[in-house]
Symmetry: C2
Subunit: 187 residues, 2 copies
């Protein structure tokens, strides 16, 4: 088997999600994931530190994509609008159908320690957005509040998108949640 | 030594914070904390599960106090105002001087695993506020967004209060941060 296998990463992720759903997260071993993907354990460990990281590898790509989108957002946008446009760029990563993200979220929701890990990764996104907003000239306090507000909007929208079955896209859910945040915080 | 010692809990907390500051968190043992407080290890374990919990025991009392304050907040307040009034009740617990909370926070900030623990406790506060708001008749999405906004305000205010040296109280910092959140989220 060659050192580099095209699509190995995606095959491992799909195999892992399928096995987590079939047998449960704890009961699934790295050996089983590799076998299902028709790859070796060595190949698995070239892509992921452990089976937990299969679930969170995408979250780091997501944060990187969002930081780039924030830097590219029009300069005239307010801090919150820029941050929300940036998290909206995640829609390109997730694509149109919530089936994959839904299977992943079901595994995370069933395990308190995975939920904690997800929460910590979300805090990493808040920090990255806050730093990015400061880079756009937003003062520290406003940057931190806009970043945490944008992530609250994203979390609510993402949860709704996963639950939806009417074909709404994530971007629509984000715009809707932003409107609700503004209604809640209006003085 | 009697089974119940008046103020044992507070003496253990003070002894622990002093030792964490002097020697570092890892280097401090439960035996040393008990000895410094002139109490036994058995007494320590009647109050705290481990030395980490000395740092977080107060956070659970805080959440309980905030939930009560939310239930008592005037019915005519908006969801966000009620949640912010509730987190403001924490000012009574912390008292006037930030010295104690500042020492505690310095220990937490120096240890990534303690910061993660703090973040998870904060998420518990968001969940408790959200449930409390639903109990006041606030719809689920608005309750979740108001709860996370109030906790973002609290975190910013608390951090500023710890850094301040001009005698400002926590309540003032909370009102200030709420004004900033409203400026950031205004459409």
């Amino acid at each position: 088997m060659g050192r580099w296998v095209p699509g190995a990463r995606g095959r491992l992720q799909r195999a892992a999600f399928d096995l987590f759903a079939e047998r449960g997260f704890e009961q699934t071993t790295v050996a089983e994931i590799a076998a299902r993907a028709e790859l070796t354990e060595r190949t698995f460990f070239r892509h992921f530190a452990d089976k937990r990281e299969v679930l969170f590898a995408g979250q780091e790509e997501l944060t990187a994509r969002i930081v780039v989108a924030l830097a590219e957002a029009p300069a005239e946008l307010s801090a919150l609008d820029a941050a929300v446009v940036a998290v909206g760029a995640s829609a390109e990563i997730f694509g149109d159908r919530p089936d994959g993200p839904r299977a992943r979220q079901a595994v995370i929701n069933a395990h308190p320690e995975l939920r904690e890990r997800e929460l910590i990764k979300m805090e990493g996104l808040v920090a990255a957005l806050s730093t990015g907003l400061e880079g756009r000239g937003v003062p520290g306090a406003a940057a931190a509040l806009a970043a945490s507000s944008a992530v609250a909007v994203f979390r609510m929208a993402f949860e709704r998108w996963l639950r939806s079955d009417d074909g709404r896209d994530l971007g629509t859910c984000i715009r809707e949640a932003l409107g609700e945040l503004r209604a809640v915080t209006a003085g």
